[in-house]
Assembly symmetry: none
DNA sequence: AATGAATGAGCATTCATTCAT
DNA sequence: AATGAATGAATGCTCATTCAT
C-alpha cells in the first residue's frame, strides 16, 4: 500500500498524536516505532501504511507542530496596532510563553544536530524557510516602526531583525536547556525588554565612548 | 594499560585528532569506534588503551576544543582596558571568529539534544559550569563598566549578562546552523554592536513610547 | 512483540528445546545466542521475541527442567503411606533416577560457581527457595515418622533433614561429576540406604565407644 | 623464553600467591591477567614468562592449594589411634574447619562446571585422582575399624566410604554455597555425627520396619 | 487495511596473547 | 628477563523494516 494515503479517516491523525507524545518525551533517536505503535494502540506494521518510515513520520509530526506554533504567534502579532506594541508582545511571548514549545524546541535541536547532518532533506529546507519567514516578519515590523516614527530613523532593519531573531532563538535555547532557571521574574524581564527596545528607539545615541580604546 | 596515561608520546593526541575529525563530520551518535580507529590507523581495541570508552573519548575531545576556545577568548578580554572595550571585543569575536568552532557547536547541540535528556552525566555538569563561568565573566565586566561610569547607573548587571549570553548563544546557534548566511558585512556588525551597547550606555532612555498601546 | 507471549504455538517450546540442548552441551557462559538461534533454525533477533535476554532464556529453561524434576519426585512421595517408605523411595530415586538431571545439575553448578558470586539475582533466590522447599519436605516426613513411631523419639528432625539434604546433594554432585562410576549395584545401594535409615530408626544406640580416644 | 622455567627465584611463587588471591576473590572466569599482574606488581607480559597461559597458571595455583589442604587433613588423621576416633575427627573437621577452603571449593565448583566440560585435561584427572585417594583413605579407616571391632562386622566398606565421601562433599557444597547458615551449633553437629556413626557401629539393626509398605 | 513474527545488520566493549624494544 | 602497547576476535542486544497471512 502507498504511504501517505489515508484510507481510514482520522487514523493518520491519531498516529501523529501518539507519535508527537512519544517524540516529545524521548526525542527522535530514543523513540522506537514500537513505542509509537503501542501509544497509538495499533500494530507496528500498520504505521508503515500511513508513513514511509520513521523519518517521514517525524517530519509530518514536526511540520504539524511548527504550523500550530506559527499560527499562535500570528494571532499575537495582529493584536497590536503599533510596531512597538507588536515587538513588545513578541518579546513578552518569548519570555513567558515559549516554554510551551520546549519539547518542540528540543526536537528541533536534535534534528539540527543529527538528522540535518546526513541529508539536506526536505525538513532542513522547511526549517530554513520557516526561519526566513520569521525574520522577514520581524524586519517588516521594524520597517513599519521606522516609518511610523516609533523607531529611530536610519535603523538597519535587516541587521536589527537578525539580531532580534538570534536573541529570541538564544532565549529559547536557554529555555529548552533549562539554563538561567529562576531568572524569570518581572523586573528581570522588564530590564531585558527595555534593553532591546532602547536600542531601537533611542535616536540620540552617541555610541559608546572610546569604543576602540 | 591504564587509560589516561600517554606512554607513546603524541599517540593520544593523534587519536584525539582523528576522533575530532570523525565526530565533527558525523556527530557523536553516528560515529563508530571502528571509524575512529580506522581514521587513526590503529586497531579498535587500542582506543581503549587511551580512553575509557566512547563517551570519555568524546569528553576529552570536547574539553580540548573548549579549552582552546576559552583560552582564545581570555586573550581577547585582557587586551582591552575598559569594560566597553572588552564587551566590544567579545561581540566582535562572536561575529567573526566563533565560526571556527562550528563543529564544536554542533557537537554541543547534539549532546544537549540527546544525551542530556537521559542522564546528568559529567559532560552535562561541565557544560553548565562552562556556561556559568561565561555568564559571570560578562556580569563582572558589566559591573566594572557601571563602576567606571561607562554604562548607565542602575543597570541590572545579572539581567543584562543573561541577555547578552542568550544573544551570543543565539548568534552561535545561527552560525552553527548556517542561518543568516551572507549577513556578515561590517556595517551589519556595527549596527548589531551598537544596538547592544546602546542599551547599556544610554542613561536618558525614557523607555519606548506607548508601550502598551 | 512482547517477550513471554507465545503467539506461534510450539515455537517457544522449540526454542527452549534448542536452548536446553546447547546449554547442556556447553554450559551457560560458553553458549552464544547465535548458537541457540542456529540450533533452533531461526534468526538471532527472533530469540528476543520470546525471551528478554540470555539469562531469562536460561532461567525459563532451568525452571522447566526443575518443574519436571519436582513433579516427578512429588509423584514418588505420594506413592508411599509411611514416612519410612517415603524416605526409602526418595533415596532410591536419588541413587537411580537422578542421573536424568545430570545436565541440569551441571548447569546449577555453573550458576552457583559463577553467576552467584556477583549478583543475588532472581535465579539465586529461586534456587535457594527450591532448596528450602526440599529441606522442609524432608523435615516434615521425618516429623511424621517420629509421630508414627517409625523413627526414634527425640530425633532432631531439622538436623537430620539437613544431613539428608547434604547427602542427597552430595550424591547428585558425584553423579554430575561422574565420580563413583560403576558403584551402582543393588547391594551397594541397599547398604547405603540401610546406613541412613539405621541412623533414624535405632533408638537404643549407645553411641560409639571411645569417641574421644 | 620457556614457560615453567624459574630464572628468578621466588618470582614464580609470588605470582602464584597473587593469582591465588585474585582467583579466590573473583573466580576463574572473572579474573583477568591484568588483575593478577597488578596484584603481583609486575607487567602483564611477564606472567607469560612463568606460565604458559591463564589456564596453566590456574592449574598450578589450584594444585598448590589442594596439596596444602591434603597435607593439613593428613595431619589430622594421624592424631587418633582408633578408626572411630579418626572418623570422628574427620567429621568434626568437615563441620567446623572446612569453611577455610570455601574459596578453594568454589574454584573446584567452577572448574567442574566450566573448564571440565571442554577438555578432559590434566586438572580433571588430577581432581579425580584426588577424589579416589580420599575415598580409599576413608575405606581403609572403615576396614581397620571393622577389623578392630569398632564397626559392625560385614560392613560394606566401599559403599560406606562412598556414602561418607558424598556426605562430606555435600556438606562442603552447602558450606560453599552458604546454605544451611546458622545450623552450626554443637547439638546439631553432635546429632549429625551420631547419625553417621550409628550406621557404622550398631550391629543389631533389624532394618527399618515395613520398608516396602 | 491490519497484523505482528521474523529478520539481520550494526556496535561498544573486553581481554588473553604477542612481540618489538 | 621484563615490559606494556597493540591486537582483533568474540558477543549480547536493538530496532527499523518487511511480508506472508
Amino acid at each position: 500500500m502507498k504511504a501517505d494515503a489515508e484510507p481510514v479517516p482520522g487514523k493518520r491523525e491519531a498516529i501523529m498524536a501518539a507519535a508527537t507524545k512519544v517524540f516529545d518525551g524521548r526525542g527522535f533517536a530514543a523513540t522506537t516505532m514500537d513505542a509509537i505503535a503501542a501509544e497509538a494502540g495499533i500494530a507496528k506494521g500498520s504505521l508503515y501504511n500511513y508513513f514511509k518510515n520513521k523519518e517521514d513520520l517525524f517530519y509530518q509530526v514536526f511540520e504539524h507542530a511548527v504550523g500550530q506554533s506559527e499560527f499562535e504567534v500570528d494571532q499575537m502579532f495582529s493584536q497590536s496596532a503599533t510596531a512597538c506594541g507588536k515587538l513588545d508582545r513578541i518579546l513578552d511571548y518569548s519570555f513567558t510563553e515559549m516554554s510551551k514549545y520546549k519539547a518542540l524546541g528540543r526536537l528541533v535541536l536534535e534534528f539540527w544536530a543529527t538528522a540535518a547532518r546526513k541529508a539536506q532533506g526536505e525538513l532542513a529546507l522547511q526549517l530554513r524557510e520557516m526561519h526566513l519567514r520569521w525574520q522577514r516578519r520581524i524586519e517588516a515590523i521594524l520597517a513599519e516602526g521606522v516609518r511610523r516614527g516609533e523607531f529611530r530613523a536610519g535603523l538597519d532593519c535587516a541587521a536589527a531583525a537578525s539580531l532580534i531573531m538570534q536573541t529570541l532563538d538564544g532565549i529559547q535555547l536557554h529555555d529548552v536547556l533549562d539554563l538561567d532557571i529562576g531568572a524569570r521574574d518581572a523586573a528581570y524581564l522588564a530590564a531585558l525588554k527595555r534593553m532591546i527596545l532602547d536600542g531601537l528607539t533611542n535616536r540620540a545615541s552617541g555610541g559608546p565612548p572610546e569604543m576602540r580604546a
